[in-house]
């Protein structure tokens, strides 16, 4: 009786701590709140600038070469360019990433290859994109791959949506692999064993049981990857030609665009910044606002599907 009725003693508050601990706690609070403030300032500033300079008409107008900002058109072409690049990159990165992740988590034999593959994925994630862009130039300038870009007088240009998209897929791949693998390791073994007990082979189990179950993780990883692919500039500037509008090559309608050069939102911002070739900061802000919006939407998708992946219960 007496135990339950005893009033609990108050926990000592921070004011009773030693000076060093109090300083540490104060620093953590200060830096945490400062970080919040900086983030809020950054986001609010970009939003205000975006609202100021963004007109809906800009979304449906191609960039033009003009002397001042009002004459230089909108950014339909860069928006389309970004979407094409992201589509090509993720069309390659998602299946390849799922394949690598499945192998790493379900097979992983021989061991040495598994360790090698695991560190390779990690290293790919850390490779600077300028290096990927230079590698892309070496590869896509070869005569064998001439059909992927334009040639002038026997010299392969090597710059096209194909080459940029394929190099960007290397950038997106690690995100898909990491997320899918995490999803696969979260599935307990008795699920696999139940499938084997029903006479399913290993690959049938993977296709019919495991892959459908990790779909939320795959989507989350792909969305993170897409965000990084859309946000990359170095590969675009060096491998997409960075022309002021989409310039097709050849006769066929879709293929000509893909083999041709172009631009994306990132290279548009880069060129329109005060340091860039065009120097129309208002245009740059408007495009940056669109890009932030895309990133926010992708992050929302990641959040929703990551939560879905965590919510799965297996017993």
């Amino acid at each position: 009786m007496s135990i339950t009725s005893a009033t609990p003693t108050r926990r000592p508050t921070a004011s009773a701590w030693r000076l060093r601990d109090r300083l540490g706690l104060a620093l953590a609070w200060f830096l945490g709140l400062l970080f919040c403030a900086i983030c809020a300032a950054l986001i609010i500033y970009l939003t205000i600038q975006g609202i100021n300079y963004l007109h809906p008409a800009m979304l449906f107008e191609n960039p033009k070469i003009g002397y001042n900002q009002s004459e230089s058109g909108g950014f339909l072409a860069p928006l389309v360019g970004s979407l094409i690049c992201a589509a090509i990159a993720m069309l390659v990165a998602i299946p390849a990433g799922i394949g690598v992740a499945v192998w790493l988590s379900e097979y992983a034999r021989p061991r040495a290859l598994a360790r090698l593959a695991e560190s390779t994925v990690e290293m790919l994630a850390g490779t600077p994109t300028v290096v990927l862009a230079l590698f892309g130039l070496v590869v896509f300038r070869s005569q064998v791959l001439a059909f992927l870009s334009q040639s002038a007088g026997g010299v392969v240009l090597g710059k096209s949506f194909f080459s940029a998209g394929l190099m960007l897929s290397l950038l997106g791949l690690p995100f898909v692999v990491t997320s899918t693998r995490e999803g696969l390791t979260a599935i307990p073994n008795h699920v696999r064993e139940a499938s084997y007990a029903l006479g399913k082979t290993k690959i049938a189990t993977i296709r019919r049981v495991l892959l459908p179950a990790v779909r939320p993780s795959v989507i989350a990883g792909s969305s993170i990857g897409t965000g990084h692919v859309i946000g990359d500039t170095a590969i675009i500037v060096m491998l997409l030609g960075n022309t002021y509008t989409l310039q097709g090559a050849g006769g066929l309608p879709l293929l000509s665009t893909l083999r041709g050069t172009g631009l994306t939102l990132t290279s548009y911002v880069y060129d329109n910044a005060p340091t860039g070739a065009l120097n129309h900061p208002q245009q740059a802000y408007a495009a940056a606002a669109i890009m932030i919006l895309l990133v926010l939407v992708l992050n929302l998708v990641v959040d929703v599907f990551a939560r879905k992946a965590r919510a799965q219960r297996w017993n």
Partner: protein
């Protein structure tokens, strides 16, 4: 979930396919063939990385071969050396390869080290705040914000730097007399080491925070509570138990963020200035306002010259240095995280 799974398990398609395999009399089973395909894919990905290393190094070799170890040293003006290369290539003369990269390397070292030291310090404290001390509403907002900041394109950071930070530094922090003093050598307009370090820390600290806080969360709660029950206060318990145990995550996060900082090109090309000048720490306060140009931005800013056969080897040589340093960083980050995976339930996402 269960009913869905059992439905899939009962689907007959695979068994029919298996039967078809047997009928066709193929030597390998469907299962074995699938495994072979996956192995081929994985080997392909590994080979791509090998190809990147081989092709980039081979293309940069003439520059290394001509300069030897002095490639990394200092001597002469880098910008004049690059101009000489461009000219020799344009006029079809014998290519000039002479190149001393030290000012560019020094700039990369300064910006990277500055940003990593600053963000390491603030990220540790912010992660502690986020994981343990922040009130629920703040933590719930801060966490997604960190993730958004980690995925904001670097060109947007560059834009903010160019439009906001550089005029601020150029017009308010640098005095007119300071500008006058260095006019014959340099133009101080605000594009500076300071701007580069500030924006770069803002860029890499979200990466660090997400890896650090994930590591601190993975430390079993009971360890922390054991320390609390011994009467140690909350701050000291967290610092001595959770932060100490999450050391592998701290190392991994730092190393991965360093790799990102070394490879950053676009933002630095916009913010750190475009002259190949090596900032001198003995210039006092002026040191922070001096412009410079790192290794990665040099490649980006000279990308029009890639068809020039005198310049291209130099750019590929720079890329080789970048590639191998970032490979080293990523590999050691991966190695540093291994003990965490063994001890706790720690996924270790690459941010």
């Amino acid at each position: 979930m269960h009913s869905q799974v059992s439905e899939r398990l009962l689907s007959e398609a695979d068994d029919l396919e298996l039967a078809a395999d047997d009928a066709a009399g193929s030597r390998l089973s469907r299962d074995q063939r699938a495994e072979l395909w996956l192995v081929a894919l994985v080997v392909g990905v590994v080979l791509i990385l090998v190809a990147i290393a081989v092709f980039v190094t081979a293309s940069g070799w003439p520059s290394f071969a001509h300069n030897g170890l002095r490639w990394f040293g200092s001597g002469g003006n880098v910008d004049n050396q690059i101009q000489a290369m461009i000219k020799s290539g344009q006029y079809g003369q014998h290519p000039v390869y002479t190149f001393r990269a030290w000012p560019l390397i020094w700039s990369t070292i300064l910006t990277t080290a500055g940003a990593v030291v600053i963000s390491l310090f603030i990220s540790v404290f912010i992660s502690i705040f986020l994981v343990e001390f922040a009130p629920q509403p703040i933590a719930r907002v801060l966490e997604p914000v960190v993730r958004v900041l980690a995925s904001v394109p670097s060109v947007i950071y560059g834009l903010v730097g160019v439009v906001v930070l550089i005029p601020l530094i150029g017009n308010h922090l640098i005095t007119a007399s300071e500008k006058q003093a260095v006019t014959p050598v340099l133009q101080l307009n605000g594009a500076s080491l300071l701007a580069a370090v500030v924006i770069l820390s803002l860029m890499i600290s979200p990466i660090m925070i997400s890896i650090f806080s994930e590591g601190m969360r993975a430390v079993p709660r009971s360890w922390f509570e054991a320390s609390l029950s011994l009467g140690v206060n909350r701050w000291r318990s967290f610092w001595n138990v959770a932060v100490r145990s999450a050391r592998p995550a701290l190392i991994a996060g730092t190393v991965l963020a360093t790799a990102r900082a070394v490879g950053e090109s676009v933002m630095l090309a916009m913010v750190s200035g475009t002259v190949g000048f090596s900032p001198n720490p003995f210039d006092g306060l002026l040191f922070f306002f001096e412009p410079s140009r790192g290794l990665a931005p040099t490649i980006l800013l000279n990308n029009d010259e890639l068809s020039n056969n005198a310049v291209a080897p130099m750019l590929f040589a720079i890329a080789t240095v970048l590639l191998f340093s970032s490979l080293m960083f990523s590999l050691s980050g991966w190695a540093a995280r291994q003990p965490m995976k063994r001890y706790f339930n720690y996924g270790g996402a690459s941010a």
